[in-house]
Structures are given as structure tokens and as C-alpha cells.
Amino acid sequence: MKLSVLYFARLRDAIGRAGEDVEVPVSVTTVGELRAWLGQRGLPWSRAFAEVRPIRAAMDQAMAGDATRLREGAEVAFFPPVTGG
């Protein structure tokens, strides 16, 4: 499955890029599994996902949880808790 992944704020700084297009194996079906798969690729993702906690996620620009099912071609974003206002 092909996905567009975005990173924001502290997480983007830790990873060193704002996003990437990835093709994940069929075993990756949820947002939580995607985060684990991104992190197991080694540096900088492994350290960034370990250091920046908690991490929130959105799929197609709506808040998502670990159990949210991925959709082909989806835009999935990971970021720290929001601090606007």
C-alpha cells in the first residue's frame, strides 16, 4: 500500500524532514502498525519515535488512533500534542 506520511513540529525536527512517500508491506494495516514500521527502519526514525512522546496521528486530515485502518493513498500525519491558542 502506498501512503503519504507527514511529520510536524518537534517530530519533524527530530526526523529532519517534513514528510515522505512510502510503500508499506501488506502486514501494515493500521496507523499504529505504520508508526512501528516507520520506526523500525533505523535512524533517524527509531530515535525520533522513541524520544517524541506522546505522538498523535491523523489520517486524511482527521484525528486518528492506533487502530484506525489505513486506506490506499491516504495522507497520514504524526505529531506531538497540539499547543495552539
Binding site: F8, A9, R10, A77, P81, V82, G84
Partner: protein, 155 residues
């Protein structure tokens, strides 16, 4: 119902006048203005920079306004949130609500800023004399949102 994300400052008086328009049903306007301070967690702040998630931000704010409409009898609502570099004393965010009676405007306005704090994808970075850092989320903001969640819609 209007939500705007912009770099430039806003004029509260002009925004409230535009929100009210010429609608004679408006009996109350409640507004909240969030301001940049020069001190946070005991550290001097020289400047804050606000980042957001374009597209999702507007959608999240519209969802929050829709939720407020479900809960209270409001006539109109406005959210203006700035992004980019903001200096102490400057305005960051404006939330305003019009209604026939004050109770709905007050409650909805407070609800909107409480939900914005936890649900809208903005992130603040502070520049201090000792370097720059991302602002940590406050648990009190989560608690404020949870308080609304426990309340039954009044309408």
C-alpha cells in the same frame, strides 16, 4: 460561521462589528483574545513561532464550530488564529460568538477556545535568551476539554 488562519494581525473591533453585521437578532457577543506573553514557565520569551497543518487546521476548527452549534443556540461564530512569528504583547487568536442571549454566547465561546487548545493542529515554538524549544502541551487543557465532554448538550 468563519474560520481563518493568517499571518497578519487582526482588529478585534472590526471583526466583532463584521460578525454582528446588521443582524437585529444578535443580543450578545462574547469574545476571547489569546495574547503572547513575555514569560512562560519562568523563562523570558523573545518570540513565539506558530506552525500548523494546512488543510487539517481549517477542517478541525470547522468541526469544533459545528459541535458548538449542536450544543447552544448561537447565531454566528468566528475563529481567527495567527501563524508564523509573533512577539510578546501581540494577539494570537480571536474566538467570538453571537447569540440572542448572553448565556449561549459565553458558554459557546469558552467551549470553542477549550476545544481549539486540544483539537486544532497548531504547535508553538518559543525563542528565549537560552535558545528555542517547542512548547509542551498542558494537562489542564485536556482536563478543560474533558469537562465539556462530560456535560450533556444543553439544547
Amino acid at each position: 460561521m468563519t474560520v481563518r488562519v493568517q499571518q497578519k494581525d487582526f482588529d478585534v473591533g472590526a471583526e466583532l462589528a463584521a460578525l454582528r453585521g446588521a443582524n437585529p437578532k444578535v443580543g450578545a457577543i462574547a469574545s476571547f483574545v489569546g495574547l503572547a506573553r513575555d514569560l512562560n514557565e519562568g523563562r523570558e520569551v523573545l518570540e513565539i513561532t506558530l506552525e500548523h497543518y494546512p488543510g487539517m487546521t481549517e477542517r478541525a476548527l470547522e468541526d469544533i464550530v459545528a459541535e458548538a452549534r449542536q450544543r447552544w443556540d448561537i447565531l454566528d461564530a468566528l475563529i481567527v488564529h495567527r501563524i508564523g512569528a509573533i512577539a510578546p504583547l501581540e494577539q494570537i487568536v480571536l474566538v467570538a460568538v453571537t447569540s440572542m442571549h448572553r448565556h449561549d454566547a459565553f458558554e459557546a465561546c469558552r467551549f470553542l477556545i477549550d476545544y481549539l487548545k486540544t483539537d486544532a493542529p497548531f504547535w508553538k515554538k518559543e525563542r528565549t535568551p537560552y535558545g528555542a524549544h517547542w512548547v509542551e502541551a498542558r494537562s489542564s487543557d485536556e482536563q478543560a476539554r474533558a469537562t465539556w465532554q462530560r456535560r450533556e448538550p444543553r439544547k
